[in-house]
């Protein structure tokens, strides 16, 4: 993908992200933060690619660390958001 296409995606997604969040009731502040935190674990995609190259020990170690950390972020993030929201429901 060329740089200009990348930049286009970047800028448009920034505007989309700004427009996406308007009014949020205070009870949802923490779950929303937790949910978007889990989404930022998209680094997992890059981590999988880096870990799968099979390009030498140092790269493998770094790729492994990236996969472990990103997976903790993703799995922990979505599960804990779900737990928080389930708690609100019961009230």
């Amino acid at each position: 993908m060329d740089f200009v296409s990348q930049l286009t995606l970047f800028v448009l997604a920034i505007f989309l992200g700004v427009e996406l969040i308007t009014k949020v009731p205070p009870t949802l502040h923490t779950p929303l933060m937790s949910g978007t935190n889990a989404i930022s674990g998209i680094t997992l995609v890059g981590a999988l690619l880096a870990a799968g190259h099979g390009a030498g020990l140092l790269i493998n170690v770094l790729g492994f660390i990236a996969v472990v950390l990103a997976t903790i972020n993703v799995i922990g993030g979505f599960m804990v958001t779900n737990r928080m929201l389930a708690m609100f429901k019961r009230k």
Binding site: Q6, V11, P31, T36, S40, I42, G46, M79
Partner: protein
């Protein structure tokens, strides 16, 4: 099985749409649970389709990483006390930042070349490392491993400014003279110190706002890593989280009757 890049990019597009719908859903009480599930489904699609990418030749490291990371993440999410949620989010966010740094370092040592890839690598390392150490300080303060009050020393802001300028200079140097590993590690150390010093002076009461801001940073770090790898999923999703996280930070500041500058520069809340 291997599939063409077009199908992978289409799957990334589907995942991005699910993230947008997910974030939108999370802003309303009625749709919040569904929003979280949609976003999780998007992540599942993005991860599974990536495993089919032609550049992935070995799966041992990946499987080990997914199993270990998945187990740790699940245990953390299940075991944590409801009252400890903010520090868990801080910790998870720090891991996200750490993942971006490890990823950017892997790309760097694999021989990333070209002005844009190297510049983006440097930015991913800078922002990811600040997110990592800043989030760990936020975690330690909320967990009461560190004093919850303001920790600092005279001239701290000046030191921070020097660290930031030094980091940016290191990135410029790496773009012009690639392959100097000492400068690369110097950048990591300067960014790590910057993350520590930025969050140490902030009091425990303001921590939720700081975590929201660091969450926004981790999105930008992911996006920078996307520029390094030329990966649309990382660019779109990272910038989406970066921007929405910043807006959420502002909303949270308003709800607490604080201004973002006051939080960041350690001005105490009046009467609180």
């Amino acid at each position: 099985m291997q599939i063409s890049q077009n199908w992978i990019d289409i799957a990334y597009l589907v995942a991005s749409v699910l993230f947008v719908l997910g974030i939108k859903g999370l802003t309303k009480p009625k749709t919040a649970v569904r929003g979280n599930l949609l976003a999780a489904a998007g992540m599942g699609i993005a991860a599974v389709i990536t495993l089919l990418h032609h550049s992935i030749v070995s799966y041992e490291v990946i499987i080990a990483g997914l199993l270990i990371g998945g187990a740790i993440g699940a245990v953390l999410a299940i075991k944590v006390q409801m009252t400890s949620m903010p520090q868990l989010i801080a910790l998870l966010n720090g891991f996200g930042g750490g993942a971006s740094v490890a990823l950017a370092a892997a790309e760097y040592f694999q021989g990333a070349s070209g002005t844009i890839a190297l510049g983006a690598t440097g930015l991913a390392v800078l922002i990811g490392t600040v997110t990592l150490t800043g989030s760990l300080v936020a975690f330690a303060k909320l967990q009461e491993l560190l004093d919850g009050g303001s920790i600092g020393f005279p001239g701290m802001k000046f030191v921070n400014l020097l660290l930031l300028l030094g980091s940016l200079a290191a990135i410029v140097y790496l773009v012009i003279n690639p392959g100097n590993d000492m400068v690369f590690w110097g950048l990591v150390i300067a960014a790590a110190l910057l993350g520590l010093l930025l969050v140490l002076p902030i009091g425990g009461a303001d921590m939720p706002v700081v975590i929201a801001l660091l969450n926004s940073y981790s999105g930008i770090a992911a996006s920078a890593a996307g520029f390094v790898m030329g990966n649309s999923a990382l660019i779109i999703t990272g910038s989406l989280v970066g921007a929405s996280g910043l807006i959420l930070t502002q909303i949270m500041c308003k709800a607490m009757n604080r201004s973002l500058t006051n939080v960041l520069f350690g001005v105490m809340a009046e009467g609180g």
